[in-house]
């Protein structure tokens, strides 16, 4: 009897799959692969077979289990809401618990488990720029979500010279009548796009909140969940729990759609403390919208020259029903013209460690966005997830379009011309 302690809690959920096949219409990976092993139904059949011990973990099963972005698109459309994304996560943990981590998994662990290492490496070089990346040895932790081996064609942004924590004080005082809000930055905002983090802190502070950005916070755990690294997931959970303890925070906000899932979701093995923490997590756009920011923006004097913008739905927001809030904010901007694009809710194709394993599929999934972006004639493609920004920019570059991806928070803070009071 094999004890699948990660997968077993999902037994009932797995059995809820009625094999209707509806997920075929919504899975971006199936859309490319058109093979049953790639779709939710196939993976659930394998999960069931594992629990029934009619299959063992072998390389073929691992391959099928690797073909998932954990985007949750199938879950929302499934008549029984079978949480395939979570079940794939559990299967990946079973795999790595038994067979150790794959190469990508190991590099993710090396980086996300050791912020100082990531920090040090980022400091010394423009690590994600392709030229320098090639000099990085195969086994280096730098390969994160973007190992270059096998897909040297990926274009990557330059890394910021200073990370978020050097740009932002750990505590920014707000108005006395407003509570403290914890700022969860996540790896991409911390190291690649610190200006998004700065914008987020300025906005929250502008609304009166004190902002606490603990230095000791770690990765949200999405890449680790994606590779199934049980130990690392637990380690990161503990790190983040501890990090936010120094202040009594009312909410923990994040400007990264993936992080929002990473720290805001629980699983059947979560402790009460983790559930409490997850309960405080807020998505920044939804938060700002509820704070009435759309009205504040709409009241600003409009400009004559307007930049044409459009919006991409990150899977991690779309599947949680956060669809209107980012749009409402964008549509209220005084200096832009919003144009909805076709297929705005199609996945960008990044998906945790997916693009590292399957860059060809990842790229093909991303290319499905291009026609819509082009037809919208937008100059700026706004979104609410730095991961999507990276991937979309890569797709745009390959299609040779003159479009820039941008985070909504950057647009808002620019429109409000916020100063950084702490400076």
């Amino acid at each position: 009897m094999t004890d699948y302690n990660e997968l077993t809690p999902y037994k009932d959920a797995i059995n809820q799959c009625v094999r209707c096949g509806a997920c075929q219409a919504h899975c971006p990976v199936y859309d490319q692969a058109r093979q049953e092993g790639a779709v939710a139904r196939g993976k659930l059949a394998l999960a069931k077979a594992l629990l029934e011990e009619s299959v063992t973990i072998d390389s073929r099963l691992e391959e099928d289990v690797s073909l998932c972005l954990m985007c949750g698109s199938c879950v929302v459309k499934c008549p029984n809401k079978v949480p395939t994304d979570k079940i794939v996560g559990a299967m990946r943990r079973e795999i790595s618990n038994r067979k150790g981590l794959s190469l990508t998994g190991k590099t993710v662990a090396a980086l996300t488990g050791h912020p100082p290492l990531l920090k040090a490496l980022v400091k010394t070089a423009d690590v994600l720029s392709p030229v320098l990346f090639k000099k990085v040895p195969q086994t280096s932790g730098l390969r994160l979500r973007f190992p270059v081996s096998g897909h040297a064609q990926r274009t990557l942004p330059a890394v910021a010279s200073k990370n978020l924590f050097t740009e932002l004080p750990e505590f920014i005082q707000g108005r006395p009548d407003k509570p403290v809000v914890g700022l969860f930055a996540g790896c991409a905002i911390t190291y690649i796009y610190p200006k998004i983090g700065v914008a987020m802190a300025s906005l929250l502070n502008h609304l009166g909140y004190s902002v606490f950005t603990p230095r000791t916070q770690g990765c949200c755990g999405i890449p680790a969940r994606s590779t199934g690294d049980t130990k690392l997931i637990e380690q990161l959970n503990r790190t983040n729990l501890e990090a936010f303890k120094a202040h009594e925070v009312a909410y923990i906000v994040t400007g990264c759609a993936s992080c929002h899932s990473g720290i805001g979701e629980t699983d059947p093995n979560s402790t009460e403390e983790q559930a409490d923490f997850a309960g405080k997590v807020r998505e920044i756009h939804q938060f700002l919208y509820q704070e009435g920011l759309a009205d504040i923006l709409a009241a600003l004097p409009t400009t004559k020259e307007r930049t044409r913008i459009t919006y991409h739905d990150p899977c991690h927001l779309k599947t949680k029903g956060i669809i209107n809030e980012p749009r409402a904010l964008l549509q209220s901007l005084p200096n832009t013209h919003y144009e909805e694009m076709e297929n705005s809710d199609l996945c960008c194709g990044l998906g945790g460690s997916f693009s590292a394993h399957h860059y060809a599929y990842s790229k093909a999934i991303g290319q499905r966005k291009v026609a819509g972006i082009k037809a919208s004639e937008a100059e700026l493609l706004a979104t609410a997830c730095p991961g999507c920004m990276l991937q979309l920019q890569d797709s745009i570059n390959h299609a040779m379009l003159n479009v820039q991806t941008i985070h909504i928070l950057e647009l808002i803070s620019k429109a409000l011309a916020l100063d950084q009071k702490w400076k």
Partner: protein, 462 residues
């Protein structure tokens, strides 16, 4: 098990990496929407007609069954490898080869998903009407093999009404062509019709020539609540006698309404015992008049409330009532036996009454809804199979349902086909001489019984 020799021969035909035989592969191709499971011996994804033909020839040489598979959304087990063999998947043959705006035809490969063809032709102002509820994921090859239908069939007919011609790989591996690109064609036997609904037992469809229509300019949705099922049934006949053929005429019976009442976008009072959703399409200016005529025609018939959607949102709200049925039904009991019987339109109330009696007799919930316009009733027997004796009870209930259907001159399947799920009931509806005729055809075309064996006919009567 396929032998090493067959394995190598298959690899030579489709390439080394395209013959899948690992346990994981077999598991992921062992089921369809019936939730039954049978492991195949190998899985192949075909990419060309030539490959299909070569694989079939090999299967004949070595006596290995071949099971064609589309999206695996079938409800009757058509693509289950019940005797093992090679599952031949067609989802990668998914190109739309041509859309001919002059002749209103489309030529497609069998793996094209129904809704993707619809989307493409609608961009050009054209229309492919058959709309199975699975259209977002089922394949056109599967639709042809099952002769799929949908709500729009009242007005527009079913899949067979839109198939002009086919390219088929026969059970012995020959490539043949039936029909053609013209509406009129009387040269030779009408083999196209033979293949439509043949459930993958007579040939593997590798190309489909489809007839298209101009896309109707507009549509209008109505919802009518009735105090009795008789009222709703009479309304259906009255509308049709009034010389209006709506695009869709969907009904929900009292058991269905009970499941969704508390979870519905619209208010459905307790007195409401049946509900019709009617949609008409055509030029915008005649739709107003048609809608008014329908409401007026049915007004005397136990009507409690009528609603005509004025906006797209209102129409959506009406359809959301229909869509809420499946998710809410599961709350009654975990296991669902979904049958798609058909009775003559006028017999719908009798059938519903009979189903209510059966439900009381066996003490199992039976939820009914469906396409009132063509008498196609989705009968859902909702049970918990874990209850002692339940599997046997279900079999008895189903047997009685089918018998009642046939007694009313109806048919035991309107859309989903026979496959393995209904094979046992086939003799109830088709007499032995007719069955023998059908099996003679099968035997002549597939002497070794290679292609999808064990489907439609339970036992060999010849």
């Amino acid at each position: 098990m396929i032998t090493e020799q067959v394995h190598t021969a298959l690899q030579n035909v489709v390439g080394k990496n395209n013959v899948y035989t690992e346990t994981a592969d077999l598991i992921t191709h062992s089921y369809d929407a019936t939730q039954k499971e049978y492991l195949p011996d190998a899985v192949i994804y075909a990419t060309t007609t030539r490959e299909v033909s070569d694989v079939v020839k090999l299967a004949n040489q070595h006596g290995v069954p071949i099971i064609p598979r589309g999206a695996g959304s079938g409800f009757t087990g058509g693509t289950l490898p019940i005797q093992g063999g090679i599952v031949l998947v067609l989802t990668k043959m998914n190109r739309i080869l041509a859309i001919d705006e002059d002749n209103l035809t489309a030529t497609v490969e069998p793996g094209v998903v129904t809704a993707s063809l619809q989307k493409e032709v609608e961009k050009l102002g054209l229309f492919y009407p058959p709309d199975p509820a699975s259209k977002e994921f089922c394949t056109l090859g599967g639709n042809v093999a099952e002769c799929a239908g949908g709500p729009r069939c009242v007005k527009y007919g079913v899949t067979k009404d839109y198939i002009l011609g086919l390219e088929v790989v026969t059970p012995t591996g020959d490539i043949i062509h039936t029909g053609g690109a013209t509406i009129k064609n009387v040269v030779g036997y009408d083999l196209t019709r033979l293949f439509v609904g043949s459930e993958g037992t007579l040939g593997i469809i590798t190309k489909i020539i489809i007839r298209l229509l101009p896309k109707p300019a507009a549509k209008k949705t109505m919802l009518i609540q009735f105090a009795s099922i008789e009222g709703a049934a009479q309304a259906v006949s009255t509308v049709i006698r009034g010389k209006i053929i709506p695009t869709t005429l969907e009904f929900l019976d009292a058991t269905t309404l009970a499941c969704i009442r508390h979870n519905s976008a619209l208010d459905i009072p307790e007195e409401c015992r049946a509900l019709l959703i009617i949609e008409v399409d055509g030029d915008a200016d005649i739709l107003e008049r048609q809608a008014a005529t329908i409401i007026q025609l049915v007004s005397e018939l136990d009507v409690l409330h009528t609603e005509i959607a004025e906006t797209e949102e209102q129409s959506e709200a009406i359809w959301s009532v229909r869509r809420s049925v499946s998710p809410n039904m599961r709350k009654i009991n975990p296991d669902k036996f979904n049958e798609d019987i058909v009775v003559p339109r006028s017999k719908v109330p009798d059938m519903i009454r009979a189903l209510e009696k059966l439900s009381a007799k066996y003490n199992v919930p039976i939820v009914n809804f469906g396409h009132a316009g063509d008498g196609n009733i989705h009968v859902n027997v909702m049970v918990d199979l874990k209850e002692p004796g339940m599997p046997e009870t279900v079999q008895r209930v189903l047997q009685e349902i089918f018998q009642t259907t046939v007694d009313m001159e109806g048919s035991i399947s309107g859309e989903h086909g026979i496959g393995t799920a209904k094979a046992a009931y086939l003799p109830m509806e088709i007499d032995s001489a007719t069955r023998k005729y059908m099996q003679t055809i099968k035997k002549a075309l597939d002497p070794l019984n290679i292609l999808n064996p064990g489907k439609i006919f339970l036992e060999s009567t010849i």
